[in-house]
């Protein structure tokens, strides 16, 4: 029998690390305290890593043979392993720091997806290591039979924790890889629909849960590997049918999963830092998913079921819409209208990120402010490909955060606004969401841009429709002027015209 004992001070240190992680998230309640929050996170992680390194110093056993006394076994520090571990940390640190420095802010969604996949894979690897060497993790009893080799019997509770941890980790990994490929453009954003996929997914899920239950009675390798394999497959199948604009929900959901994976491993290791972190991250991702779903007026289930935007449901309002009259404006018109305005509200969307127009947009805002115009930014919760995506891009372009407002804080202001300037957003401004019950986006909270005196709407051409496949009534309203061009090019022209 060899039960791994954790010294009280080590447990205390892990608890302190957990508290640091809570403070890290707490700091994000305002931009002013956020950097301090991040430092708390770094402190917590340092405490957790150092505690583990100190309590789990790798050792090797030597036999001291002396002529006079009995042979004694002594354990000394295994420096080779120590160097290997420090080298592994060093390699990871180098890759991580270089990536973090080089990544473009517009690529943040795919970076986060890639990071999630690493957490998932790490959880799987730790789970496999714990299965192969359970004694090291203190989750088994060593049975020494009369004949044959001693073998480790993993505790039943630990088997469930291990099974769940590996399954969630594997789902996080393969799901995040698909999300990354979609966000990075290596894979089309269009949902890929397999026939009978709901039946397949439910069968797989039931299979995984059944095997985890069976794993309690039988710790055979084939069960463990089948759980792992099926989980990789289901992660892949779950994300493949989900389309591009549902990505904010998917990224949040995978964020949540990576937390639950860490928590499951924390249960296995009886480690409070991992459990606290897992619970924090798990609830964080779940709340973000909920906020994103609410902002689209869709249920979590319908997002997971996938395939949004492929049906013909939008035909009701779209049918003959192409023939309706609309007004086209030039950059000079736009510049004139905005420079005469008292207040301009800018509504950015994913198109702004694609066109990389945030910097020139800020320049336009500055020029308008110099002319005495009040400039504000209105952000819809699902604008972009991940929660808060637009805020980061505007911050990158040096837009002060107190000029940027959330939907509920600014929506009442459109009625007193002279110009609403829509750049790269579409569905989140569609008034049909408020009036047309047949519209697939009916009930989704939208920005009331049409209430402004004039709406300037930048769009590449009149042909395309928004992600939801719905035509936007806004284009054909008397107070709307369409600015047809690439977003960045158009804003550059407006800036020139403002000079």
């Amino acid at each position: 029998m060899h039960e791994l004992t954790v010294s009280p001070w080590a447990s205390l240190a892990y608890l302190v690390a957990g508290v640091c992680f809570i403070l890290a998230l707490r700091g994000l309640s305002s931009p002013a305290s956020s950097q301090r929050g991040n430092r708390f996170g770094i402190i917590g992680m340092t405490i957790a890593v150092v505690t583990t390194l100190v309590t789990h110093v790798p050792t090797v056993q030597h036999l001291l043979v002396s002529d006079t006394g009995p042979t004694i076994a002594v354990r000394t520090i295994d420096w080779v392993t120590v160097v290997e571990i420090l080298a592994a940390i060093g390699v990871g640190a180098a890759i991580g720091l270089i990536t973090a420095r080089r990544i473009a802010m517009t690529a943040m969604p795919q970076l986060v997806a890639a990071f999630h996949s690493l957490v998932g894979l790490a959880a799987v690897l730790v789970g496999v290591a714990a299965y192969l060497n359970p004694q090291a993790f203190g989750i088994s009893d060593l049975v020494i039979p009369l004949i044959g080799q001693p073998f480790a019997v993993i505790h039943p509770v630990s088997r469930i924790e291990l099974g769940l941890g590996v399954a969630i980790g594997a789902i996080t990994f393969s799901g995040s890889v698909i999300a990354f490929l979609k966000l990075n453009g290596n894979m089309g954003g269009k949902p890929i629909m397999l026939p009978g996929r709901h039946v397949i997914n439910i069968a797989l899920l039931a299979g995984i849960l059944g095997l985890i239950a069976y794993f309690v009675t039988d710790q055979s390798a084939w069960i463990f590997w089948t759980i792992t394999g099926l989980s990789f497959v289901i992660g892949f199948l779950l994300i493949v049918p989900i389309g591009g604009a549902d990505m904010p929900v998917v990224v949040s959901m995978l964020n949540s999963y990576s937390g639950w994976a860490a928590a499951a491993m924390g249960f296995t290791l009886h480690n409070s830092a991992m459990i606290i972190t897992g619970a924090l991250v798990g609830s964080s991702g779940a709340i973000l998913s909920y906020i994103m779903c609410r902002a689209m007026n869709r249920s979590f289930i319908s997002v997971i079921a996938g395939g949004f935007g492929t049906s013909d449901a939008g035909a009701g309002s779209g049918g003959s819409a192409v023939d309706r009259p609309w007004k086209r404006g030039s950059a000079e018109d736009a510049a004139f209208l905005m420079s005469q305005a008292e207040q301009v509200i800018i509504v950015p969307g994913y198109g702004m990120a694609v066109a990389q127009a945030q910097h020139v947009l800020r320049e336009m805002g500055d020029k308008l402010k110099a002319e005495g115009v009040r400039v504000k930014y209105a952000i819809h919760p699902v604008a972009g490909r991940m929660p808060g995506h637009m805020n980061v891009l505007l911050a990158e372009a040096n837009v002060p955060y107190d000029d940027v407002f959330e939907l509920e804080d600014i929506n009442s202001e459109f009625a007193q606004t002279d110009v609403a300037f829509v750049i790269g957003a579409n569905d989140v401004t569609n008034p049909a969401a408020k009036t047309d019950k047949s519209s697939p986006i009916y009930g989704m909270p939208v920005l009331d841009v049409e209430k402004a005196k004039t709406v300037l709407f930048i769009k590449r051409s009149m042909g395309g429709v928004g992600y939801a496949g719905v035509d936007n009534d806004l284009f054909y309203r008397d107070n709307t002027m369409m600015l047809l061009a690439d977003a960045k090019k158009m804003v550059e022209d407006i800036v020139k015209a403002l000079d």
Binding site: R26, L28, S34, M45, T52, V57, L97, F115, L132
Partner: protein, 102 residues
């Protein structure tokens, strides 16, 4: 620690997470995802234990190698996650106001 003690920590931490995350301003949701990603790499604790474990039993050599690989992956996340969060947070600036307001 027995199972119930661990479960208590977990359940209470879920509630703490719920209230703390609702208090996060929506403008910082992207940094929130980046930092939660960094802290969920606390899974490195398990990776370090696996990498440092002495070899007894057949699978222990493989377990050690997997542990080392997991240390690399988790380290990428930890350093990358905190660094990219710091980079983002440094960009959030308040409006520069004139010193005295009329």
């Amino acid at each position: 620690m027995d199972f119930i003690a661990i479960l208590s920590i977990f359940v209470l931490a879920c509630f703490v997470g719920y209230f703390v995350v609702w208090a996060v301003t929506p403008a910082l949701h992207t940094p929130l995802m980046a930092v939660t990603n960094a802290i969920s790499s606390v899974i490195i604790v398990g990776a370090l234990i696996a990498a440092a474990a002495a070899g007894i039993g057949a699978g222990s050599g493989v377990a050690k190698a997997l542990g080392l690989l997991a240390v690399v992956l988790a380290s990428i996340n930890i350093f990358g996650g905190f660094a990219v969060t710091a980079r983002m947070l440094a960009m959030y600036k308040k409006k520069e106001r004139p010193v005295a307001k009329g």
